[in-house]
């Protein structure tokens, strides 16, 4: 199947060679045909999407079309969309319809993108396989017996299967890059602060970012250009609004660092081979490659889970059923019983586990040993990256240590599931940008290569990604 790229659709719609309504309807036909087995979407918003597309048609006559005119986009269901149910794949938010658009969603709409639906995820983003959705598991379009990765599994699967031209995901510890690697698409986790978090339903505030998932680097860059920049509603957003679609594809003199720690014990040979092959190709094009040590990343996973769970335990406190979402009012005679009943029945097991662990880590007497210690480790990781980037333009390694695992394979082994995030969490802790792009496959399952850069150097990072994509070609089955 030939994928229609977002930038081609937008160009066609602007020129008038493509009808926004027709293109949107075409995508809905594909959703109707394929989503029964993939199950990428929690909500499909056909009526409002067709309405949006009609308005774009109207605007075309006035020649006021944006950079994403008529581009169908799927939005991960932990990003607020005004008037469209937003659940975080949790029973506790079932039926919740946000009264406002997330800043990123508002910006996309202003550029003419059409929201076609909300995609599945691990409940509140807590997982790496999309199996922890309270509603259903999403399947990997490359092999239906395998997971799509997570937590933005629905977004990556939708893009990989052509159910949406592009998608928004969110990345707290790898949640954009992991499913992008597993599904063979391009995913970008921006620098912390580049994209507004306003409207992103928080899992772990200091780690997460909204970012693009696309079939090719140009689409990802285009989407990022449309959502980047300071937002007065988010005090932690400090980025500039830049155009990332101007590429200068050349590997000459590019200094690439390859941290040994990213090829640890659990890394499949097929994965490390594919990543090295790609790096060697860049070297052949004139890049300078050097293996390095980034010792502190060995502690990244422990630090990451303590910080993420601590923040989550506080962020998720608001879901008590009193103001919105799920309420189990059977027999509750006082507020504390009501809150307990709502939270007991509303949250899934994995979410409860993380709330409990986070509550423990923040408790008096344990705070110093866990939360503060984790922050110290985080500082060491930041310093390690800073040192490395003094010498290298980008760092490279695998996105995931393995290809997509089988459905149900790791749900019974939580530690193995957590371990699979070992290559993605360091970038979240350091706040640096990181992208995953396809670099090959093994047994029909895609392999992702990770590119990391220094904060706010998304331009440089995407340039390298484009160079690599030009050499390797877009992922094809």
């Amino acid at each position: 199947m030939k994928m229609q790229s977002a930038w081609e659709i937008a160009e066609g719609v602007r020129k008038g060679s493509i009808s926004a309504v027709e293109i949107v309807e075409e995508f809905f036909e594909r959703i109707e045909k394929h989503d029964k087995e993939i199950r990428a979407f929690i909500t499909v918003s056909k009526d409002s999407a067709i309405q949006q597309a009609k308005e774009i048609e109207k605007k075309r006559r006035e020649k006021k079309l944006g950079r994403l005119a008529g581009v169908p986009i799927a939005v991960k269901d932990n990003i607020c969309t005004r008037g469209i149910e937003t659940t975080c794949a949790s029973k506790i938010l079932k039926g919740y319809i946000p009264p406002y658009d997330a800043t990123a969603v508002r910006m996309l709409k202003e550029e003419g993108a059409v929201i076609i639906g909300k995609t599945n995820l691990d409940e509140f983003g807590m997982g790496s396989s999309t199996e922890f959705s309270a509603f259903f598991a999403t399947k990997n379009p490359r092999n239906l017996n395998h997971v799509p990765g997570g937590s933005s599994g629905g977004s990556a699967a939708a893009v990989a299967k052509g159910l949406s031209a592009v998608a928004l995901g969110t990345d707290t510890g790898g949640s954009i890059r992991c499913p992008s690697a597993f599904c063979g698409v391009v995913g970008v986790k921006p620098t912390y602060g580049l994209v507004s978090r306003y409207g992103l339903i928080a899992y772990a505030n200091t780690l997460e970012q909204i970012g693009p998932i696309a079939n090719n680097v140009i689409d990802a860059a285009l989407l990022l250009s449309c959502i980047a920049g300071h937002d007065p509603h988010d005090s932690t957003s400090i980025g500039e609004n830049k155009d990332y679609t101007k590429f200068n594809s050349s590997a000459k003199k590019l200094k690439i660092g390859v941290p040994r720690q990213y090829f640890g014990e659990g890394t499949q040979k097929a994965v490390s081979d594919a990543v090295w092959r790609a790096i060697k190709k860049l070297e052949g094009e004139g890049a300078e490659v050097e293996e390095i040590d980034l010792k502190s990343v060995g502690y990244a996973l422990a630090s990451y889970y303590i910080i993420a769970m601590s923040e989550a335990s506080s962020n998720l406190a608001r879901y008590d059923g009193l103001r919105y979402g799920f309420q189990d009012s059977s027999g509750a005679r006082d507020w504390s019983t009501l809150f307990s009943k709502d939270r007991k029945a509303g949250f899934g097991f994995e979410v409860k586990k993380r709330i409990m662990l986070g509550t423990f880590a923040l408790s008096a007497g344990y705070f110093d040993a866990y939360y503060l210690k984790a922050q110290k480790v985080r500082n060491l990781i930041i310093q390690d990256f800073q040192r490395a980037f003094k010498k290298f333009d980008v760092l490279m390694g695998p996105t995931m240590p393995t290809t997509a695992f089988k459905l149900g394979e790791k749900t019974v082994d939580p530690l193995a599931m957590y371990m699979s995030d070992c290559d993605t969490v360091p970038a979240n802790l350091a706040g640096i940008p990181a992208a995953s792009i396809p670099c090959g496959s093994s047994n029909g399952l895609p392999i992702g290569l990770q590119i990391m850069a220094t904060p706010f150097e998304e331009g440089k990072m995407l340039n390298v990604a484009k160079t690599l994509e030009d050499i390797l070609g877009v992922y094809a089955e």
Partner: protein, 475 residues
């Protein structure tokens, strides 16, 4: 209160920054009063999923003013923390506040307030968001339902925490009065608004466990609640029942404290840095600029009153105890006359009447200059002081903006008229005249009858002298 009780009182005072137009972290109006429940809200102050707080920078300025007025050390950098606990009036089930441990830095600390009964040290000042408000049917204990209104949620509060330096319930009240006047002088908190200043009190006796009393809504209530709590704790000690650490609720209808929750240990709020807000730098230049624009504070104003208007320290102290009162005093003194009379009228008679009748200075509708004119007439002996005061009280009582005199309003100052009136009163009250020979209290009764007969116009001093002489002459 005797020292051997080992009484320790500390206060946590919550002051709304009523000067701000918007709430602390969103753009909803900060004035929620009089709105229908749950209408003065937005997705941010109700903690809707995905929303983020954005600091209202005017709140920092107001808090710095408070810190300067209370002689505090102002932090060069401050940050916010989350205080985690579940309660239906907290939309996020955590409160964004400040903290002085674990890398936390509140806006200011280590200040002091001077009161007549001694210095009260300020431990810290912090910015935080107000929770919503719960309403009950009847009392918190017996109500079958509770209703929640988030109109107030997110309003900027400054919490002022004292060291346990308060010597008595009365002292606590004096401190709060002073604090209120300071806040009104710097113009950040209008203490006359219901709920704009609230306080929690920590009380312990005999070195026992600290008991926190919440829900104290006015300064009178502080004194009542503390008196109740001290008596209660004394009684408990007498029956040898150990006092545990607990939080009690002041029931201002029944005027008792009731157990809200018993604490096993220090409550664990799992404080950690608020990840959605960045640390705020408070530069020396910023503080210096605010310091330059600081208005006159009550202590300075009191000293100036004593010097400029030649009134007593006591009267000046009472006048500056309420900004509006001091303003009225100064406003009415534009003519630079009768400062002593005006001072005592305002500080003693008018304030006394307002307190007894549960009215406020806002119920005074007449102009300060008219009050001054009245004082001038008394000085010129055109009016007795009693008549003047009674028309003033009557005007406040009736909410009138002008003074009304009885038709023949002039003071009776000639001895003959007074003598005639005294004779009439003596004839009508022979028993009282007889009693007065041995009981001075009866003289007061006769004075009352005389003033009644003359509609208050008899010159007070002359009338008393005449009655006393007549009684001495008759015995």
């Amino acid at each position: 209160m005797k020292d051997d009780l080992g009484l320790k009182i500390g206060l946590e005072v919550h002051c709304q920054l009523t000067v701000l137009k918007t709430k602390l972290f969103c753009s909803c109006p900060s004035n929620y009063r009089g709105e229908d429940p749950n209408t003065n809200i937005c997705e941010v102050c109700t903690g809707m999923p995905g929303t983020l707080p954005v600091l209202n920078e005017k709140a920092v300025e107001a808090a710095v003013k408070i810190a300067l007025a209370l002689d505090c050390k102002i932090s060069e950098s401050m940050n916010f923390f989350r205080k985690n606990y579940f309660y239906p009036d907290l939309p996020k089930n955590f409160q964004i506040t400040q903290y002085d441990k674990a890398g936390g830095s509140p806006i200011a600390k280590e200040g002091l307030v001077e009161t007549i009964a001694g210095i009260i040290r300020i431990r810290r000042i912090q910015l935080e968001e107000d929770p919503g408000k719960l309403s009950y049917e009847g009392t918190i204990v017996s109500s079958p339902i509770s209703l929640v209104d988030y109109n107030r949620a997110g309003v900027a509060l400054v919490e002022i925490v004292t060291e346990p330096d308060l010597k008595s319930p009365k002292h606590a009240r004096e401190f709060l009065q002073k604090l209120r006047s300071i806040l009104e002088h710097i113009g950040v908190c209008d203490g006359s608004l219901e709920g704009a200043m609230r306080c929690d009190a920590n009380v312990s006796l005999f070195g026992g466990k600290r008991v926190e009393v919440k829900n104290i809504s006015s300064f009178k209530e502080v004194e009542r609640a503390l008196n109740f709590e001290i008596t209660r704790q004394k009684t408990m000690a007498n029956v040898a029942k150990a006092e545990g650490m607990e939080t009690r609720h002041w029931d201002d209808v029944r005027r008792v404290t009731v157990t809200l929750r018993v604490k096993e240990a220090e409550e664990d709020y799992r404080y950690f840095p608020e990840p959605d807000l960045v640390p705020i730098t408070i530069s020396k230049e910023y503080v210096a600029d605010i310091r330059k624009r600081m208005p006159e504070l009550p202590d300075g104003r009191k000293a100036r009153f004593v010097k400029q208007y030649v009134i007593s320290e006591e009267i000046a102290g009472v006048l500056v105890g309420e900004k509006l009162l001091a303003d009225i005093f100064e406003e009415s003194l534009r003519t630079r006359m009768a400062s002593n009379l005006l001072g005592s009228w305002l500080a003693i008679d008018i304030l006394g009447y307002l307190n007894r009748s549960e009215k406020t200075l806002a119920d005074m509708k007449f102009k300060p200059k008219d009050l001054a004119e009245l004082a001038r007439k008394v000085e010129k002996k055109e009016l007795t002081e009693n008549t003047a005061k009674s028309v003033v009280i009557k005007a406040i009582e009736q909410g009138k903006s002008t003074f009304e005199f009885a038709k023949e309003g002039a003071a009776i100052t000639d001895e003959k008229s007074i003598m005639d009136a005294v004779k009439e009163v003596f004839e009508a009250n022979p028993k009282a005249v007889e009693d007065a020979k041995s009981d001075p209290k009866a003289i007061n009764f006769l004075m009352g009858q005389l003033m009644k007969a003359t509609k208050g116009r008899a010159d007070h001093e002359l009338a008393r002298k005449t009655i006393e002489q007549a009684i001495t002459a008759g015995s």
